[in-house]
């Protein structure tokens, strides 16, 4: 295999890792997996940088008495990748800390559910009544009575959207 081909394979591999990561972040629904996908993408970006400065016939860029005359690989991307790995680890730790906090508050790792609960929380903080408020677990305020739809055939008008206040009134 020629070095040219290997080079392009490596570039393709790095791009592939980035694509896998990005698709994973967009598609996955478990927040822990999203973090893993994010770091696959970051590994891809780091690999891309390393390949940008790599030469097959060169030695590691460390200056010693014997290496001074030989061709070295480019040290700048290596320094960059070293920095970006360290930053990546920091962000990873922060992300995991946030996951722990989210799990403590919402008892779930499902992104869609977290998003619904968060929107409900934000809406409630703004004083906007949202349709999700039934699904809020017991906490700062009492749960409303569960909503039981009446049989459709007897009264067709019940298909209108449900509002919590109205329902409570009906039950009483």
């Amino acid at each position: 295999m020629s070095t040219e081909l290997i080079h392009w394979l490596l570039y393709g591999g790095a791009m592939g890792l980035i694509v896998i990561g990005v698709v994973g972040v967009v598609v996955l629904n478990n927040i822990f997996r999203i973090i893993l996908a994010l770091f696959i993408a970051e590994a891809g970006a780091n690999l891309l940088l390393i390949i940008a400065g790599y030469r097959f016939d060169a030695i590691a860029p460390i200056l010693t008495a014997t290496s001074a005359t030989q061709v070295m690989v480019d040290p700048v991307p290596q320094a960059m990748v070293l920095t970006s790995i360290v930053i990546g680890v920091g962000i990873q730790a922060l992300a995991l800390a946030l996951v722990v906090k989210i799990y403590q508050h919402y008892q779930t790792l499902n992104l869609r559910e977290i998003h619904q609960r968060m929107s409900a929380d934000i809406n409630q903080g703004c004083g906007i009544i949202s349709l999700f408020s039934h699904e809020r677990p017991a906490g700062s305020r009492p749960l409303p009575e569960p909503f039981v739809p009446e049989p459709v055939d007897s009264e067709p008008s019940t298909s209108e959207p449900f509002t919590p206040g109205k329902n409570q009134g009906d039950k009483k």
């Binding site: 980035i18 990561g21 990005v22 972040v25 927040i31 999203i34 973090i35 994010l38 993408a41 970051e42 891809g44 970006a45 780091n46 891309l48 940088l49 940008a52 400065g53 480019d74 700048v76 991307p77 960059m80 920095t83 970006s84 930053i87 920091g90 962000i91 922060l94 992300a95 946030l98 996951v99 906090k101 989210i102 508050h105 919402y106 977290i114 998003h115 609960r117 968060m118 929107s119 929380d121 934000i122 903080g125 703004c126 004083g127 906007i128």
Partner: protein
């Protein structure tokens, strides 16, 4: 000469020492943060007033393009003095016990100063990550469940942006073999190809997460409504402008006259449409301001996408205007956080706040004597002069967006001045501390109204200096001797 480096070093050092200081003496920990910020403001203002022409500082004694350099011109020094000023205005003075938020704010100040001053792509990346991490901490600082969840989404989008930006930086490095912005500018002809343009697009999308650029701004409404208003004010007012600054530096130095302007213009137009329409149908003030700031940032991008000095003047004016108005508006949501339909009677409980709201809203819309009008006028004139179909489309979108803006802001103003229920009216009372902070923002804008001519001259000077590509390159590279017209890798005998 090098004392501007204190603007980066001092807040970073204090940020990490603050927990230790706080454990030995609480009052000292409370005062050291504002003290450091005042010192930063002093350094930056001294440089801003004395600097006649741009200067590059080679840190560590290595000359650029090999060493790390700071690039000091009037735009970067202006931003470097605005950073501590905003921090001082939005500092948590009432916070008696904690040192966490103070520490994060100082981290943010240090990272932001480094970001605006540095003339090196990789340093920009590192400082950008620093302010990202600090802003994650600040966004989650009120420790509510919603804040954690919103911050998580912010972190994921921002992390993805980091990956894209790093890929873009890597692509630029493969094309030019350098990371120094001035040197990249010298080799700009090598970036005038699809790879160079895709690198620019990747960096814009990646860095644009903070600048609320169109496809990557899903986090904005959630974070701004879950975080405390002070933090939202900081993120919307200051941090977004820092990201914009990085983008225009790259645009001016490396991509002058290329299709990169079109990328920016299209992203800006989409941002305006999405932001203003979402703001129009939002039901509470926090989210309305969050979406409206997406729209405003879109206008800033459209302004910077006009080639030449006209675009630069309009862009900087829009940027500075939004930087003052949006924090003022966000501070109002501290108490006015209910749905807009129930805000009736708010004007009765705190009349000054209502007047300030109307003042800011009129300036945001662009009503003649106020600063917002002049900024928007510069933008409109620039768009008419550019006169290609895409720029005229942008003009149409801008004017339509202004109409929409007028509708939702005036609707809110009318609601505030309408009668409300007695029980709720008390809830809308603003605290006097908040009111004084908001008044400072309003006073800054009033001062602008009365000193329009000297400010316009200063603005023209800043814009001419920062849109001059040759000046930027010469400033950094004139001190270094070797011929730099070919890539560094070729000079080192790496011709393939």
């Amino acid at each position: 000469m090098n004392s501007i480096a204190f603007n980066v070093a001092l807040p970073l050092l204090t940020a990490f020492l603050l927990p230790i200081i706080s454990s030995s003496s609480k009052p000292a920990a409370r005062f050291i943060g504002p003290f450091v910020l005042f010192a930063m403001l002093g350094f930056a203002l001294v440089y801003f007033n004395t600097l006649q022409h741009p200067v590059a500082i080679a840190l560590g004694g290595f000359l650029p393009p090999l060493g790390i350099s700071f690039h000091l011109d009037s735009l970067s020094l202006l931003m470097a003095s605005i950073i501590p000023l905003m921090m001082l205005l939005l500092w948590p003075y009432a916070n008696k016990q904690g040192y966490r938020e103070e520490s994060l704010l100082l981290l943010l100040a240090g990272g932001a100063s480094g970001l605006v001053l540095s003339g090196d792509l990789f340093n920009i990346y590192v400082f950008f990550e620093l302010i990202s991490v600090a802003s994650f901490g600040l966004a989650a600082a009120n420790r509510s469940a919603a804040a954690f969840a919103a911050t998580f989404r912010y972190l994921v989008i921002s992390g993805l942006g980091t990956v894209l930006a790093l890929t873009g930086i890597g692509l630029i490095y493969t094309q030019t073999g350098t990371l120094n912005l001035a040197h990249i500018g010298l080799l700009a002809s090598q970036l005038d190809n699809p790879i160079g343009l895709s690198a620019f697009a990747l960096i814009v999308i990646g860095i644009g997460v903070k600048a609320e650029i169109f496809p990557v701004n899903g986090w904005v409404p959630e974070v701004y409504s879950a975080a405390s208003p002070r933090i939202s004010a900081l993120l919307a007012g200051l941090i977004s402008k820092l990201a914009v600054l990085v983008i225009i530096r790259l645009l001016v130095v490396a991509y002058q006259g290329s299709d990169a302007y079109i990328i920016l213009l299209v992203l800006g137009i989409l941002g305006i449409i999405w932001g203003e329409l979402s703001a129009w149908r939002s039901k509470d003030l926090k989210r309305m301001f969050a979406y409206s700031s997406i729209g405003q940032l879109g206008m800033v991008l459209v302004a910077f996408s006009i080639p030449g000095d006209a675009g630069m003047v309009a862009g900087i004016a829009m940027m500075l205007h939004h930087l003052v108005v949006k924090p003022g508006l966000f501070m109002l949501t501290e108490k006015w956080n209910g749905p807009i339909s129930k805000l009736g009677g708010a004007a009765k409980s705190s009349p000054l706040a209502a007047i300030l709201f109307v003042f800011f809203a009129l300036s945001l819309i662009g009503v003649p004597p106020l600063p917002g009008f002049w900024a928007k006028l510069l933008l409109v004139i620039g768009l008419i002069q550019a006169s290609s179909p895409l720029y005229l489309t942008a003009l149409a979108v801008l004017l339509t967006a202004t109409v929409i803006e007028t509708h939702y802001l005036m609707k809110t103003a009318i609601k505030i001045y309408s009668k409300g229920k007695k029980k709720q009216v008390k809830k809308w009372q603003q605290t006097s501390f908040n009111l004084s902070v908001i008044s400072v923002f309003a006073l800054i804008m009033l001062a602008v109204v009365f000193t329009l001519t000297p400010l316009a001259n200063k603005l023209n000077h800043i814009a001419a200096e920062s849109s001059d590509r040759v000046l930027y390159i010469n400033t950094t590279l004139s001190a270094s001797q070797p011929p730099l017209s070919q890539p560094l890798s070729q000079q080192m005998g790496k011709v393939q």
